[in-house]
């Protein structure tokens, strides 16, 4: 749709962030090379520019980091909760102070729009540290009985879609409860975790309490399997989650998993259409749809399908795809070449299976990894694109006639992480929310997060909750 007024470019300055040409592993308070000297490159997905060269942790490094964490655990867990709280409050404050720098860094390394890192990721990262800071000296009141104890060394593996936010979700409750941490960031987005190491230094956090080990899947596997790790926390794919569950079987390691999803976003005929359209867009195009709780299955009541699809298509035509550092950008780059290939192949499969593909007129930049916002109609429950997680800006549209049918279709999934309900009828919201088998349900809104609110899945979306009082349980001997 041609517009009378075009947006002028409004790029955020890169000068607020100083990326070094290379980074080491962060073990026992020091940056260090990998024992076997291995390195890998991290690129900016929007330009394919190499940002930095990162040390790649191997088994020996994992062992060294776990030993450092074990040593630090003794003192850290013995600190009064009020002292641990103050460290976490310091970290939260420094994150706020450096949030512009971190937002730009995250956008460079991940490819998501600055609008999102600035307005969603970073405020939530700081909020998580503030929230769990306050728990550190109140654990007796958390509902797990008197004097709940930390587990020890936590091995944490996080994904690339929200690099710093997932770090906050993992590290804040672990430290608040007195555990020490070895964290592996994703291979495509290691930078913000390494900047976080510098924040730990600024905060004066004791050496060894937080260790950061960039690497690939084998680094994560070595960490999960390390005999001296007491707690494993993983966010990522369901397939890897199952592997991890098998690895820790028969051990005493406590496990929490946040895995995939195929969220149903259910729109009833009495829904406020304009708000629903915004919610649908937010649900599937936020972070290019690379969100485990994305509303990737739109279930629309048949009687309003045409009206809703017209509005939705009109709205999609106004989305701006391009330079993630531009403050007007809605859709940034796909995180990696590999992920782009996966999205492309699933979308091709959707077409091959007979679903109808539509995208707005959309020019893709010539370098970098990009995928136009896409929606599929004529989708049935049997289609691969209605069952498998695509983890990209691709929406599958299905229809229903009755609330019961909507619930049945929504629940017809191996996953059970999120769902949305759009209707003006309060009793219908409550009745449908009650019947949906999902851990997070947004009614008349979507993709809202808050550190006070438990997040996590039913079924094969994993087990355990992050956030809120519930999030403490994963790190306590309860």
């Amino acid at each position: 749709m041609a517009s009378a007024f075009e947006y002028a470019p409004a790029p955020e300055s890169r000068s607020v962030v100083d990326i070094a040409p290379s980074y080491g592993l962060f073990i026992d308070g020091e940056f260090t090379e990998a024992a076997d000297g291995k390195v890998f490159k991290t690129v900016s997905p929007s330009t394919e520019e190499v940002l930095s060269e990162i040390a790649q942790a191997g088994e020996a490094d994992v062992d060294r980091a776990v030993r450092a964490a074990r040593k630090a655990f003794e003192k850290w867990s013995a600190l009064p909760g009020s002292e641990r709280a103050k460290y976490l409050f310091r970290i939260a404050r420094i994150i706020q102070e450096r949030s512009r720098e971190l937002a730009v860094l995250e956008t460079l390394d991940n490819g998501k729009p600055i609008k999102e890192t600035r307005d969603a990721d970073l405020p939530l990262v700081a909020a998580h540290f503030f929230y769990y800071a306050g728990w550190a000296d109140k654990l007796d009141h958390a509902g797990f009985g008197a004097n709940p104890r930390p587990l020890g060394v936590a091995g944490q593996v996080i994904p690339w879609n929200f690099p710093l936010l997932m770090l906050a979700w993992k590290i804040a409750p672990a430290l608040a409860t007195g555990n020490t941490v070895v964290l592996k960031p994703a291979e495509t987005t290691p930078l913000s975790a390494l900047f976080f190491a510098d924040i730990c230094r600024q905060a004066g956090l004791p050496k060894g309490v937080v260790n950061i080990l960039p690497g690939y899947g084998d680094t994560g596997a070595a960490l999960v399997a390390h005999p001296d790790v007491n707690k494993v926390a993983f966010t990522g794919s369901t397939a890897v989650g199952k592997q991890i569950a098998r690895t820790v079987a028969g051990t005493s390691k406590k496990l929490t998993l946040e895995l995939g999803g195929k969220g149903a976003n259910i729109v009833f005929d009495d829904a406020p259409i304009d708000q629903a359209v915004e919610g649908i867009v937010n649900g599937i195009f936020f972070n290019q749809g690379q969100v485990c709780c994305a509303g990737s299955r739109l279930l629309v009541q048949e009687s309003i399908q045409d009206e809703l699809m017209d509005s939705l298509k009109r709205r999609l035509s106004t989305l701006r795809l391009g330079d993630p550092l531009d403050k007007n950008t809605d859709i940034g780059a796909i995180n990696s070449e590999e992920q782009l290939a996966r999205i492309t192949s699933l979308v091709e499969q959707g077409e091959a299976e007979g679903a109808e593909r539509w995208s707005p007129a959309c020019e893709l930049p010539s370098s970098g990894y990009w995928f136009a916002p896409t929606l599929f109609t004529n989708v049935t429950q049997a289609h691969t694109i209605a069952r498998d997680e695509i983890f990209g800006p691709v929406l599958s549209v299905l229809t229903f006639r009755t609330p019961d049918e909507a619930v049945a279709k929504a629940n017809n999934s191996q996953y059970g992480l999120s769902a949305g309900i759009w209707t003006e009828k309060g009793s219908r919201i409550l009745a449908v929310a009650n019947k949906l088998r999902a851990g997070v349900i947004w009614s008349n809104t979507f993709n809202k997060f808050d550190p006070t609110s438990p997040f996590g899945g039913y079924k094969e979306s994993g087990f355990g909750r992050e956030g809120g009082r519930h999030g403490l349980e994963a790190y306590l001997d309860v």
């Binding site: 199952k242 006070t452 438990p454 809120g468 309860v478």
Partner: protein, 294 residues
């Protein structure tokens, strides 16, 4: 006058509210602690296990959807029914575990009291572990516990009745349905419990009791795609590891075996192990943001 010849009981499984024999037609010999024959217990097969899953799944919606008050009433009713048949259970527990009558009576009393304890939890657990979250924004959200679904319970091997009740009651108190594998050596109190459950207003299929070889029955259940969780209380370390690996295939919730003193009042963790937390969000609008009133 000669002594009256007693009437033996044919012990049967309890599946879907009915009392079938094992589909396999097999039984195994159950003896007391001194090796004297007590009865032939059904030796369940993979098919019996699968039938139990079907029954438990069918019962889940109704049981999970029943009011917590109603579930509490039914759990208490179970205690009432047990109280009336105490003598039978005391005899069976004494035989099974080689206990004196008075020690066995203590076990049965404690088990009945445990039903009463859990009966009181059904309508309180949500208030204790759920709640409203103070969100930083114009939203209201609420976290509430919901049952995980169909739960397989490997009953403890040694404590044939108190241990059994201690692992079954928390699973169903919160709205799950259960498939219980009785103690392999001492299954008779569990099979008799089925008869009590059948007359306690508990809907058929909410609890299903299987007897036989624990490892043989548990293996297909741990791998079953329509089972949501497994309590490994009655598994040894080797079996527990094997079942936990199988359970990973559909990410079942697993409660690992752990040392438990069944004589003490339990905590709530056997309930929370088989609960999911659902957080529901709704906008509140930002009232008063610009000095408006309503």
């Amino acid at each position: 006058m000669s002594d009256r010849l007693s009437v033996f009981k044919t012990y049967k499984l309890y599946v879907g509210g009915k009392f079938p024999r094992s589909e396999s037609g097999r039984v195994y010999e159950v003896t007391d602690s001194k090796g004297n024959w007590l009865a032939n217990a059904p030796q369940s097969s993979r098919k019996d296990a699968r039938d139990a899953v079907v029954a438990a799944r069918k019962a889940f919606g109704g049981w999970a959807g029943a009011t917590a008050y109603n579930r509490g009433q039914i759990l208490y009713r179970i205690a009432e029914m047990l109280e009336g048949r105490k003598a039978q259970f005391v005899r069976e527990v004494a035989d099974a575990e080689g206990l004196s009558k008075s020690k066995a009576a203590d076990q049965v009393d404690a088990a009945i009291d445990r039903w009463v304890w859990y009966a009181g939890w059904t309508d309180k657990i949500a208030q204790v572990i759920g709640g409203a979250n103070p969100v930083a924004g114009p939203y209201f959200n609420l976290s509430s516990p919901e049952p995980t679904g169909v739960v397989v319970v490997l009953a403890p091997q040694e404590s044939s009745f108190l241990g059994l009740v201690s692992v079954v009651a928390p699973v169903i108190a919160t709205g799950n349905t259960a498939i219980v594998i009785a103690s392999e050596k001492s299954p008779l109190p569990a099979l008799s419990l089925g008869e009590v459950l059948a007359t306690s207003d508990l809907p058929g299929g909410v609890v299903n009791v299987l007897s036989g070889r624990t490892a043989e029955i548990a293996a297909p259940l741990a791998a079953h795609q329509d089972v949501n969780a497994i309590d490994l209380a009655g598994a040894d370390d080797v079996l527990a590891k094997e079942l936990e690996i199988a359970a990973a295939d559909n990410l079942k919730r697993v409660l690992r075996p752990q040392p438990v003193d069944y004589a003490t009042v339990p905590g709530i963790d056997r309930m929370t192990a088989f609960l999911e937390t659902k957080t529901v969000w709704h906008p509140t609008g930002s009232l008063g943001a610009s000095g408006s009133s309503y």
